[in-house]
């Protein structure tokens, strides 16, 4: 089976592990996970690795998730790869900002594995089609 290569960007290593666990519980298997602790590190990963899905926090020091998203598009890294934002910010305005910046999905913390599955699987299926 084709492996699913994922980049998880969050300044919290605990949250990165929780997101990875949620993806595995969602049935994404085999799963290859690249981790980054900031937007800057995430861009570095995308310069060397090919991924199928990016999940990123918004509220991070140095380069936040929205700027990370803009830089992905500006530098034409990971073209066509869906980006899902995972964040504590939940207002319509924040969702709108994320979508305008190029995000394809939005998951609010705290979340369940089922919510991750609902947001992520349609994006992966659409990409594979």
């Amino acid at each position: 089976m084709h492996e699913i290569r994922t980049l998880i960007v969050d300044d919290s290593s605990v949250m990165r592990k929780i997101v990875e666990r949620s993806l595995r519980q969602a049935g994404l298997d085999p799963l290859v996970v690249h981790e980054a602790g900031s937007g800057t590190e995430g861009l570095d990963v995308l310069r060397t690795e090919s991924v199928d899905l990016i999940l990123s926090d918004i509220n991070m020091p140095s380069m936040d998730g929205l700027e990370f998203l803009r830089q992905i598009r500006a530098q034409n890294l990971a073209p066509g790869v869906p980006v899902v934002m995972i964040t504590t910010e939940s207002s319509e305005e924040h969702v709108k900002q994320a979508i305008l910046s190029g995000a394809r999905g939005y998951i609010r913390k705290p979340f369940t594995a089922e919510q991750v599955k609902e947001r992520v699987l349609p994006l992966l299926n659409a990409k594979a089609a």
Binding site: D11, S12, S13, V14, M15, K17, I18, R21, N59, M60, P61, D64, T87, T88, E89, S90, S91, E92, E93, H94, Q97, R108, K109, P110, F111, T112
Partner: protein, 186 residues
């Protein structure tokens, strides 16, 4: 001092996020909805939601806590924008280790970096869930990244807040406190 730094970070973050929404922000005021903002049920619901979804446990509000442990951990997440202040999570070492274990599926013997990271994220999610209960607050109040403090025999003081909520909660035999301090409301 710490609260000021965290709060300034949240204000700066909110200013950047809302730089295109200045006109809208200027027309919104939380003064008229202070009762809603300071409703203690919002804090209880936020705690219940975060602990149920991230740890799989039910929390119960308590009227008092047992004698504090000497070693404790505190996570501070600042609010900036229409409301300035902070969300403060505090627990003894035993509860912090239990929370980190529940979140990660790992066991911990001391308040190491992973435990502090986990407690910081709990603070972050509590702050986000709490402000998300009031739509104007969700849209016009930024959060700082969490600051985590560990140590023995320390206290945090805020002078003359606009309002303050301080609740004690328990899951299993682990106790923790969550405080919302608001020292500015527009």
């Amino acid at each position: 001092m710490l609260l000021n730094g965290v709060r300034k970070a949240a204000i700066a973050r909110n200013n950047v996020a809302d730089k295109n929404d200045t006109e809208y922000s200027m027309t919104v005021s939380l003064r008229e909805s202070v009762q809603l903002v300071s409703d203690p049920r919002n804090l209880d619901a936020s705690v219940e939601e975060v602990f149920r979804l991230m740890l799989g446990v039910n929390c119960r509000r308590e009227s008092s806590a047992p004698e504090p442990e000497a070693e404790s951990v505190t996570a501070v997440v600042g609010f900036g924008g229409l409301l300035s202040g902070a969300c403060v999570f505090r627990s003894g070492a035993r509860a912090a280790l239990r929370i980190a274990a529940r979140m990660t599926g790992m066991e911990f013997a001391s308040l190491d970096d992973t435990v502090k990271d986990a407690i910081g994220e709990i603070g972050n999610m509590l702050a986000g869930a709490w402000k998300g209960k009031v739509p104007d607050l969700a849209a016009n109040c930024g959060l700082s990244v969490p600051a985590v403090i560990t140590g023995r025999d320390y206290n945090l003081h805020v002078q003359a807040p606009e309002f303050q909520l301080h609740h004690i909660y328990r899951f299993e035999d682990a106790y923790f406190e969550v405080t919302i301090v608001c020292d500015g409301l527009q």
